[in-house]
């Protein structure tokens, strides 16, 4: 049975789950000493004092500053670029254009479609065209406006449906498009059908369907993009960058700059928020590197806020037509979805997005028959990419809205219809063979219902006041790496020298989510030392073993397991040292609270340092390596790898809100957020991740949208792109569900992304409960809500 805790009831005391946990390591019943404790993040004191170093804080002797000239056309041929006036400006040290870097790159090996700067034509308004390195930022800024670019405009593709049509080759945005549609701007099409979809709809008691539309949104991290590139005296490139995935940037730099990887070091600075928006290898990383190689000087490139918006990679604008079939008891029979997502100018993670928009609808409910037609298209807009909850968030809104509609049609409580359809734990989905191990969604929803007093509120609150529910699941890391090779997905190295400090080396990027702290906890728990001893070095590719980085909610599960395994090796060495010192058998020793204690004779014990120094005799520093590779999973059809994960998180949210029927303004009152994270290694962080996900999801639900005129972004700033402020954010009560995953480190699985998706439908469904209108367009801005209320009034007046 999963255990329940969280911010509402157990503020400072965390109930440990003594549930089943079968992998190696300390016995499942052992009380944990470091795991499960509310500990501050390892780097928090550097952040609260201002000591933490972000890329824009860095200074090097002789450092130059760079600015990028960006396209002013959404789609145009470049007829001429003249940089001579810029080059002549005093203080300008180098100017680069697309002519200086021919190699294409991209995060996915199948979509190598980005250039460092545009060549021949530009494909979105904001695309880098040229860049300058100068003595000061002001000179660089002056210089880019001296660069003359002559464009010949081409037909722009600004609506995703325009990209479906056949066009002449010169109007295709990229050479490589979907093979099934070779003359279009379709990047990737996915078509899947399993089970008897037609038959299920024919025989269904209840069919619900609707068309949905979602605006694009942006990650909105507070740190604008900033980097420093330094081609150093050893003819090596040092790139300081706030990367979620230093390893992919490392690979892309090698390709673009035509250097062996070992002549490049990627150094992750502190990351001022990522959320998926700092996980692609980026054009500005290439540009600063090119400028530094040209000048042999360090080059800093800091973007302004608008450029950060233009760099993009946010959630895809989405249009979907979905239908679901149910029997008379509310049992789900089939899901049919047809979705187009607007990828913008580049491929980015888009092939994965195209799959995820369909396949991640195969939970948290059992789906007996499934059909998905998905298309990701290229357009002349800001590139879309991976954003928190990648690919699962918008379709989740659709299915959760449809289930709610079915509940109303069938006269069922929306929570009850969900409880009837949740997939069980320890099961495989029928077609994709997604392996569900632990699953605490039932307990989560039941607890959210209890705390919110759902049964006495749903359908019973006065007009304008409503309550709604939304559920979701998400992967704990993609089981298959982006680059097909035999390397592990995570490797962690440990080193302990005579000073007693434990150094953890990993390339898992701490982006503020607390992964350094998580690694330290996993290690300290296994070797029985205090957290203060453990120092995490997770920033430099020269010293850190490869980890695929912070995306797809993989870090706790994969790097945590690797850290645990490395620590097991050290643990064995310390236990045999204690055995040597005391004459008791090594397997009898427990490592707890800085001591190595004989289990059978508790008065036989040595200190951590005594054991360490004995273990170091003749060998010096203790070193160990641990790695993680997903178990073989899945099945054989083409594309079946997408969505596979060693474990899945589950969440069930309830939202209470008020709608002003006069203005359409929606004011959330309270959110109850139950999330099954397997085990909360650090409940303080888990709550922080869930609260942050709710806040970000509320933004997409109610206020955030990228608005365009033609190809021009209208609101690339925090005044017009409306992130919820403290005033807009209601109280969030987190309910931590611990289902003790059999393979997660100490039972843990993800909590950083899955908790975003359910809040948006919980808001939509609460709006229905409040004022009786369904919202099919997201965000649910006051004008849209008001329009829906007025349409309903008109329909009622007509007696419909």
């Amino acid at each position: 049975m999963p255990t329940i805790s969280g911010s509402g009831e157990t503020k400072n005391e965390h109930q440990l789950n003594k549930g089943v946990w079968t992998d190696n390591g300390p016995p499942a019943q052992a009380p944990f000493n470091v795991i499960g404790k509310r500990v501050p993040l390892k780097d928090a004191y550097r952040k609260v004092t201002g000591e933490g170093v972000y890329a824009d804080d860095m200074k090097f002797p002789g450092m130059l500053h760079s600015r990028i000239l960006r396209a002013t056309q959404p789609h145009a041929r470049i007829l001429r670029i003249d940089t001579s006036k810029a080059e002549a400006l005093p203080g300008v040290r180098a100017v680069v254009t697309g002519a200086d870097a021919a190699n294409r790159f991209g995060v996915l090996p199948v979509s190598q479609d980005e250039l460092s700067m545009a060549r021949e034509k530009v494909i979105y308004n904001g695309e880098p065209v040229a860049a300058v390195a100068a003595d000061t930022e002001e000179i660089a800024e002056q210089a880019i406006w001296l660069i003359e670019v002559e464009y010949e405009p081409l037909e722009a593709f600004l609506k995703p449906r325009d990209s479906l049509k056949d066009v002449a080759p010169e109007l295709q945005l990229h050479d490589k498009v979907e093979k099934k549609h070779p003359n279009t701007n379709i990047h990737k099409a996915v078509d899947q059908e399993f089970g008897d979809v037609e038959g299920s709809f024919k025989g269904a008691e209840c069919i619900v369907n609707a068309e949905f539309k979602f605006d694009g949104i942006s990650h909105g991290f507070t740190e604008p993009h900033a980097i420093v590139a330094h081609w150093d005296a050893d003819d090596r490139l040092q790139l300081y960058t706030p990367q979620q995935v230093p390893h992919y940037t490392h690979r892309a730099l090698a390709k673009v700059l035509e250097l062996p990887m070992h002549r490049i070091q990627v150094i992750r600075t502190m990351v001022g928020g990522g959320f998926g928006g700092k996980s692609d290898p980026f054009q500005h990383e290439m540009i600063a590197s090119l400028l530094s190689m040209r000048t042999r000087r360090p080059v800093k490139l800091t973007m302004d806020r608008e450029e950060t918006f233009l760099t993009g990679r946010g959630r895809h604008p989405t249009e979907g037509k979905l239908a679901m079939a149910f029997d008379a008891q509310g049992k789900l029979l089939a899901l049919d979805s047809d979705i187009i997502i607007d990828g913008g100018a580049y491929g980015s993670f888009g092939v994965v997005s195209a799959y995820y928009n369909g396949v991640l609808s195969n939970g948290p409910y059992a789906i007996p028959a499934f059909r998905y037609h998905g298309k990701r298209v290229y357009s002349n807009r800001i590139p879309s990419g991976a954003m928190r909850g990648h690919g699962s968030v918008n379709p989740r809104y659709c299915t959760e809205t449809l289930i709610d509609m079915a509940a109303v049609k069938l006269g069922l409580d929306p929570c009850d219809i969900r409880l009837r359809n949740f997939m069980p734990s320890n099961t495989l989905t029928p077609y994709h063979k997604f392996r569900i191990t632990s699953n605490g969604i039932r307990e989560g929803l039941a607890e959210a219902m209890r705390r919110s007093d759902w049964k006495s509120k749903w359908g019973k609150l006065p007009y304008g006041h409503g309550i709604g529910v939304g559920c979701a699941w998400y992967i704990s890391g993609s089981a298959l790496p982006i680059h097909w090779n035999k390397l592990p997905q995570s490797t962690v190295h440990l080193k302990i020298d005579m000073d007693g400090g434990v150094t953890v080396h990993s390339l898992a990027a701490d982006i503020g989510q607390g992964s350094d702290t998580m690694l330290a906890q996993c290690v300290a728990e296994v070797i029985g030392c205090s957290l203060e001893r453990v120092h995490v070095k997770s920033a430099t590719t020269d010293t850190a073993p490869i980890d695929l980085g912070s995306y797809s909610s993989r870090v706790t599960f994969m790097a945590g397991n690797a850290a645990r395994k490395a620590a097991e090796e050290i643990r064995a060495k310390l236990a045999s040292a204690a055995s040597k010192l005391t004459g008791q058998p090594a397997q009898y020793f427990d490592l707890v609270n800085e001591e190595v204690i004989c289990r059978t004779k508790p008065d036989v014990r040595v200190t951590f340092m005594e054991a360490l120094h004995e273990a170091q005799a003749d060998v010096g520093a203790l070193v160990a390596s641990g790695s993680y590779q997903s178990p073989p999973l899945g099945t054989q059809f083409k594309g079946s790898n997408a969505g596979l994960s060693p474990s899945y998180s589950f969440s069930a949210f309830i939202c209470e809100l008020k709608v002003d029927p006069e203005t359409g303004f929606v004011q959330p009152i309270k959110i109850w957020a139950a999330h099954d994270c397997g085990r909360a290694l650090n409940p303080l962080s888990v709550e922080g991740q869930i609260e942050g996900s709710v806040h970000m999801g509320l933004g997409q639900a109610l206020t955030e949208q990228l608005r365009y005129r033609g190809g021009q972004l209208l609101n690339g700033n925090f005044l017009d792109y409306k992130i919820p402020t403290p005033f807009d954010t209601p109280e969030i009560e987190v309910i931590i569900v611990e289902s003790a995953d059999p393979e997660g480190p100490f039972g843990a699985k993800e909590c950083g992304e899955g908790a975003l998706a359910p809040i948006i439908p919980a808001v939509g469904n609460a709006i229905y409960d409040a004022v009786g209108v369904r919202m099919f367009e997201v965000p649910m801005t006051p004008d849209r809500v008001l329009k829906a209320i007025e349409a309903k009034k008109r329909a009622e007046a007509k007696g419909e």
Partner: protein, 167 residues
């Protein structure tokens, strides 16, 4: 335009800097005085990351020209951590009020002004005071927790110390 001499006091220390008239306080603090704890998130007064104190009042240093601070007392996040860490700094770390950390200095400086004016704020008063600061990571809950914890600590500290003699 030629540079002018700016004389002011930063974190209790006399500073003299030659600045361009159009340079902001944020850029002078960061680039000339190496006080990079003050962050620039938007450079147009919409995120609050760059909040510092000018003569005891929380101000956006990205919207303040450096020369406006002629003769002023400026306090930055670095100024709160002298001899001991400010209770707000400790509380933001301990309560999980800082994740990526980029907005944190701004939130702490704004909270510091609040607690200097109102040692025992309600949650609503905290919300109102922080309404101009954006955090994309925390959902604000743990920031409120931190401000409340620090307020409690500061009140305790102030009751233990004898009240300063009136001048």
């Amino acid at each position: 335009m030629s540079k002018r001499l700016l004389k002011f006091v930063v974190n209790g220390r006399q500073a003299e800097v030659a600045v361009e008239p159009h340079h902001t306080l944020a850029s002078v603090l960061r680039n000339e005085l190496n006080l990079t704890g003050t962050k620039v998130g938007c450079d147009m007064g919409t995120c609050g990351c760059c909040t510092v104190h000018i003569d005891g009042k929380a101000k956006l240093s990205c919207l303040t020209l450096a020369l406006e601070c002629q003769g002023a007392q400026v306090r930055t996040i670095e100024g709160l951590n002298e001899y001991e860490m400010h209770p707000l700094q400790r509380a933001f770390a301990e309560c999980g009020g800082s994740q990526c950390g980029y907005c944190t200095p701004g939130f702490i400086m704004k909270s510091c002004e609040l607690l200097e004016q109102n040692p025992d704020p309600s949650r609503q008063e905290i919300k109102e005071a922080l309404a101009g600061n954006l955090c994309r990571c925390t959902g604000f809950m743990k920031i409120y927790d931190a401000v409340e914890q620090a307020a409690g600590e500061l009140r305790k500290k102030n009751t233990q110390q004898p009240a300063p003699a009136k001048v």
